[in-house]
């Protein structure tokens, strides 16, 4: 095992109360400075709330260190400008705006020249549909647009919340490939239910249960341990990696600490 560099994002004792209901009771998590960290857990475990809490989209307490800087008191827009790209669970595309307008809105002046080359290389479809209203795109295309927005700026961290949810297997592959490519340059925090995608992308994982951190460690170790996977993720008895649509040609690194083969 190589010595782990300091985490890019370190969350300590994150608590969220919404409408008098305690949703998070103290989540701890670290996003490694390289590669993809998966945020896992059963439905209702608090994954999306954790992401929204980190970003300040819901009122929260605790500590959120981004590259060593405490950000828990920052407004969402100020935190995002420190270099975060966010693709939310519902994709968050603006339906009445065109594809081009959605992308233009995501340009951040302080982040330098927007990386349209990368976006159009990964998602040529978005260039062809630039003038189409985003609300008329298919679910998969909307997800591509949501991810494209996170790639436009030279971000330090990408947060993607269930990017493959509800997508056809072919589109899952496309989205996974884009995230894999993004993760070569930028650390990714990935909320994902599709364990085949987790297996393909994630080196590290954090598992939540009932609004608390239940497990942190190498992703493949967890997926290889059928008993732990069943207990923590509530997935099938035999092979947890079989749940969710298959991802063809998944490159499986022999050792979870080595670079993903890309």
């Amino acid at each position: 095992m190589s010595p782990a560099p300091a985490p890019l994002l370190a969350v300590r004792d994150l608590r969220v109360v919404i409408g008098g209901r305690h949703i998070l009771h103290g989540v701890d998590l670290e996003v490694a400075a390289r590669g993809t960290t998966a945020l896992l857990g059963r439905n209702g475990a608090g994954k999306t709330t954790t992401v929204r809490g980190v970003l300040g989209l819901v009122p929260r307490t605790g500590s959120v260190l981004l590259a060593g800087e405490e950000t828990v008191r920052l407004a969402t827009h100020a935190l995002v400008r420190r270099g975060i790209g966010y693709a939310p669970e519902d994709r968050g595309v603006f339906a009445a705006l065109t594809v081009a307008e959605n992308l233009r809105l995501a340009e951040r002046s302080e982040a330098g020249e927007p990386a349209y080359d990368l976006v159009h290389e990964l998602f040529p479809e978005l260039r062809r549909r630039a003038r189409q209203a985003a609300g008329t795109l298919s679910g998969g295309q909307q997800q591509m647009l949501a991810i494209a927005r996170t790639l436009l700026n030279g971000n330090r961290l990408i947060i993607a919340d269930e990017p493959t949810k509800g997508l056809a297997p072919k589109v899952v592959t496309e989205v996974a490939r884009a995230l894999e490519r993004a993760a070569e340059a930028v650390p990714v925090l990935l909320v994902e239910q599709n364990l085949a995608v987790v297996r393909r992308l994630a080196r590290h994982c954090v598992v939540l249960a009932d609004g608390r951190t239940a497990h942190q460690g190498p992703a493949l170790d967890l997926l290889a341990d059928a008993e732990a996977a069943r207990r923590l993720l509530g997935v099938g008895r035999r092979d947890p990696a079989r749940t969710g649509p298959p991802v063809p040609t998944a490159a499986r690194p022999a050792d979870p600490t080595t670079e993903a083969d890309t």
Binding site: L55, H77, V80, P88, G92, L105, R108
Partner: protein, 295 residues
């Protein structure tokens, strides 16, 4: 025929006034979910600013020609500043408390007319405006007051300017996106509060311009003008679809015309009722108004 022409121009002129209030109201509601009951007060501020300047108190401004234009610009500017102050001092501290926010805007909406009548009296103050606009022109046998087409032209220009702002500028893009999903706009690194202040300034300017031109339409300014127009502007906003500019424009025309024709051809006052019936009927068929989106 002459009556129909006159009623049409008067209805459209009134609709133009409604639009000048409703456009800001609609943008503010669409972007910020704020029901601004103080919006009529902004019209009154614009009206009194214009009247104050036009009655010779502002150097260079006066009742005629270029002097009146300067007075109207002054009134509009005062209304714009008042709108920004309202947003920063009253609305902003209450963003997370919508109920208190509504009460606060209702309070400002009552306090401003009270303040105006405390300073300048409750009686209407005559505002003649320039000679060139006080006459009439003949059309198909009708003598139509010149201020009607002026109001209509002003409303059309404001609509065109707002559409250009929304469609062609980055701030406009932020506003359109914010109307759809405010939280996502902040999650893209954009300080949406700046857009709030900007939208209030724009809405305040349009309402205050409505006050200046409303002075011409009614021939006078009085403290309650804004409040009575505000009610119909709300009808326009709901009819047109919250947050939709095109919808507000169409609904302004419909409400102004229905009100004028019904008031003339039935009992006076029934036009106001007819407008509310129109609203209720429309909401039964199309709960989101004429258009459900910003366009």
């Amino acid at each position: 025929m002459a009556t129909v022409v006159l009623l049409t121009f008067t209805g459209l002129g009134l609709g133009a006034l409604y639009f000048l209030i409703a456009s800001g109201l609609s943008l503010i509601f669409g972007l910020m979910d704020v029901l601004n009951f103080a919006h009529g007060a902004l019209l009154s501020v614009g009206a009194y600013g214009t009247w104050w300047a036009a009655s010779g108190r502002l150097p260079g401004a006066g009742p005629g020609g270029a002097g009146f234009v300067l007075a109207a610009v002054f009134g509009t500017a005062v209304g714009t500043v008042a709108a920004v102050l309202l947003e920063v001092a009253v609305i902003r501290p209450l963003y997370t408390r919508p109920r208190e926010q509504i009460l606060a805007t209702v309070g400002v909406g009552l306090a401003v007319p009270a303040l105006l009548s405390a300073i300048w009296g409750a009686d209407p103050r005559p505002l003649a405006g320039p000679k060139a606009l006080s006459g009439t022109f003949g059309l198909l046998g009708a003598e139509v007051p010149l201020n009607r087409p002026v109001l209509i032209a002003a409303a059309v220009l404001v609509l065109a300017a707002l559409k250009a702002f929304l469609g062609r500028t980055r701030h406009g893009l932020v506003v359109r996106a914010g109307v759809e999903d405010r939280a996502m706009v902040t999650a893209l690194g954009i300080d949406v509060r700046k857009a709030f202040t900007l939208v209030f300034a724009i809405g305040g300017a349009a309402a205050a311009l409505g006050g200046a031109l409303g002075g011409l339409y009614f021939g006078s300014v009085d403290p309650g003008q804004g409040t009575s127009l505000l009610i119909f502007a709300f009808v326009v906003v709901v009819t047109g679809g919250m947050g939709s500019l095109t919808g507000a424009a169409l609904a302004s025309v419909a409400v102004g015309l229905v009100q004028q024709f019904a008031n003339y051809y039935t009992t006076a006052g029934l036009g106001d009722v007819a407008v509310v019936v129109l609203l209720a009927a429309l909401l039964l068929i199309r709960p989101r108004g004429l258009t459900g989106r910003l366009a």
